[in-house]
């Protein structure tokens, strides 16, 4: 897998803001960032209100995905460039959705919104109007999606990569350090999981490390590249970032994202949990 096939640089992005067939999409949980200024021409997708099912704990279904992309003016043939805040967590989550629904031509903006801002590049508050399309999605391909029973079966047999912070992994914290701590789940990690925090896959400016650096990082942490791999975090977005690094940058074949992640696993009755360091 070539980096150029899955990532674009901020420089490339700036040079292609007006290229026909290229659509920039900002994806965020906190959508006020887009209102305050976004990449010129970019449309917004609200991760919470547009990509999640409003009732069940699941993401938007095929028909919902088709409706959403049609309304946003995105065609099946468009090259979609996703970016967002939080080091592209939610953009990587969206990339994973686009992949599951079979969109062929999708890339992440390397470094996301942070790199764009640190570069001092232009932001605008102007909202583009794109004509509606008739987007057709494929049936959801769960090749890259892990569900809880598969995760439990993977203990001691597949690679489990916990990408949360060390303090969340050991059970010292229940949530990332920028959120109030909660107690609705048990603390700890899935037995046999290795802990490689998502941030280790990224440079300080939010860009991804090179494939060589990434391979070394995960192998040193104990990842066996001959085995299948499941990545998880708390709700599945930081692990989308790691899924992207493992699958799209290193090029490992069988990598799944467990979007149930710790908020599901840590609430299951009777499953094994480990605390402390691995």
């Amino acid at each position: 897998m070539s980096r150029e096939n899955v990532l674009v640089t901020t420089q490339w992005a700036e040079e292609n803001l007006n290229t026909p067939g290229v659509v920039f999409v900002e994806v965020d949980e906190d959508t006020t960032a887009y209102d305050g200024g976004h990449i010129p021409g970019a449309v917004r997708i609200d991760w919470k209100n547009e990509l999640q099912d409003p009732v069940r704990r699941d993401f938007v279904d095929k028909a919902g995905f088709e409706k959403l992309l049609s309304e946003k003016g995105i065609s099946n043939d468009d090259l979609v460039i996703l970016y967002g805040g939080n080091n592209n967590w939610f953009a990587a989550y969206a990339y994973w959705y686009f992949t599951l629904y079979g969109h062929k031509n999708v890339r992440l903006l390397d470094g996301g919104r942070k790199k764009w801002e640190l570069d001092g590049r232009e932001l605008t508050t102007e909202v583009p109007q794109r004509p509606q399309t008739s987007y057709v999605a494929q049936e959801q391909d769960t090749t890259y999606r892990a569900f809880r029973d598969e995760v439990i079966d993977a203990i001691n047999s597949k690679n489990l990569v916990d990408v949360r912070s060390p303090d969340e992994f050991t059970g010292k914290l229940n949530a990332p350090a920028h959120l109030p701590q909660e107690s609705s789940q048990r603390s700890g990690h899935i037995p046999s999981a290795i802990n490689v925090p998502w941030a280790k896959a990224a440079n300080e400016d939010g860009t991804f490390k090179s494939a060589e650096e990434l391979k070394e990082l995960y192998e040193e942490a104990g990842l066996d590249t001959s085995k299948d791999t499941i990545a998880y975090c708390r709700i599945g977005e930081r692990s989308s970032h790691t899924w992207f690094a493992l699958r799209e940058l290193i090029g490992l074949e069988n990598v799944k994202n467990y979007d149930g992640s710790w908020t599901e696993y840590g609430s299951l009755v009777g499953v094994p949990i480990e605390t402390g360091e691995q």
Partner: protein, 101 residues
């Protein structure tokens, strides 16, 4: 429980804030000319490992919920970077000003 994991919008944390049993590391990013808005503020643990990141408010405010220990707060901005250290020991508000320049 928060549905998402993204960093919430940052606001000022007055000195009188009741941290409700949490270890809160908060402060303001500034330059020699005054408050600096929009910097990316990273919390690093005693090993220098990344723990969390927020984007400071337009007034430069940021806030983390941490645990007891040694922490470094590092701010990145198009105009430069800066960092400051803090030691936390139990629940309470720990104020950390960070100067970028």
């Amino acid at each position: 429980m928060s549905d998402g994991c993204g960093a919430p919008e940052q606001t000022a944390t007055p000195s009188s804030t009741d941290t409700q049993g949490q270890v809160v590391v908060a402060g303001k990013v500034s330059t020699a000319d005054g408050p600096l808005g929009g910097a990316y503020v990273r919390l690093l643990n005693s090993d220098g490992e990344f723990v969390g990141e927020v984007q400071a408010s337009p007034e430069g405010d940021f806030r983390f919920y941490a645990a007891s220990g040694e922490w470094t707060v590092r701010a990145l901005h198009a105009s430069g970077s800066g960092e400051a250290s803090v030691r936390t020991d139990g629940a309470g508000l720990y104020e950390v000003p960070v100067t970028v320049g």
